[in-house]
Symmetry: C2
Subunit: 172 residues, 2 copies
């Protein structure tokens, strides 16, 4: 059974929705899509670090559209692992664990990985929204479109814009 | 630079010392070394599950003898990752993170991995006290002696009985 490493933030969990919501709550202003594209979150949102370290940022992130159903079906056909960079913000450890248990009760603790660098991950396929994770990986790489990577050339990675496209690619 | 995956419990952190201490506190009895050998912790300590889920079990585990110095030197010569099965007991996530920060301040968050199954780990060398982790691994495997594995044939794995022996093996 092929192994898939699936990223959380920006792939399963809609962290942009949290960023924009907290930005509006703080400033009363709204960020347009054009302002988000091609820039890292830390550049777009002056207080991004403050947002991600606020209690609830990860715990209450909405689920990405179409994610639940495709992950459930991938789980039958592949050995899936949820691999999330959680170590930089240790308060996120418990929140991310609880988020996974709430939204994906069929994913066992054996399938969860919280790490810093992903260069230690061995699998056949990696789905991620960050080049820094995909570029190190030795297997098949799928770049999940998010505003920060939208304008970049995907290079050797397959770009997908939705979970519908992941379904077409991995569950033909 | 070669990558090493280093286990925490039973390799860096002396969890047996925690088990025996809690057992004595609970029962007033002392476990002899002979009683511990060749059996999983859950078999030796009737309330092992209760012990590992008690606040402080991982946070206050003593450091293994000789560990600090060898890990510090390995960190100069290798790319080391601390890979710990922490997902089964989510309360351990924060305790293990704090333990690492206290005892190994030179280990960055990029080098920490908390997982369930270790079959997703890619590195050149793995140091672990459990066959279930080493048997899956594709690189060089080092079995760290602990009472539960002491009577078993190490098979294809190199057995070490102390951090002194790891030093001789990896820092010649």
């Amino acid at each position: 059974m092929k192994k898939i490493s699936i990223d959380m933030d920006g792939v399963m969990a809609d962290v942009y929705s949290q960023f924009t919501k907290m930005y509006t709550a703080e400033t009363g202003l709204v960020k347009t899509v054009a302002e988000l594209e091609g820039k890292p979150e830390g550049e777009v949102f002056e207080h991004a670090l403050q947002y991600v370290t606020s209690p609830g940022f990860f715990r209450h992130a909405p689920l990405m559209e179409g994610c639940f159903d495709v992950v459930r079906r991938l789980n039958d056909r592949y050995k899936i692992f949820i691999v999330s960079a959680a170590m930089e913000f240790p308060t996120s450890l418990v929140e991310k664990h609880a988020w996974l248990n709430e939204h994906f009760p069929f994913i066992g603790w054996q399938q969860m990985v919280f790490c810093g660098s992903k260069e230690i991950i061995r699998a056949d396929i990696m789905i991620d929204d960050h080049f820094k994770n995909l570029n190190f990986f030795t297997g098949e790489t799928i770049l999940y479109t998010q505003p920060h990577n939208k304008l970049a050339d995907a290079g050797k990675h397959s770009r997908v814009n939705s979970w519908k496209e992941i379904e077409r690619l991995l569950l033909p």
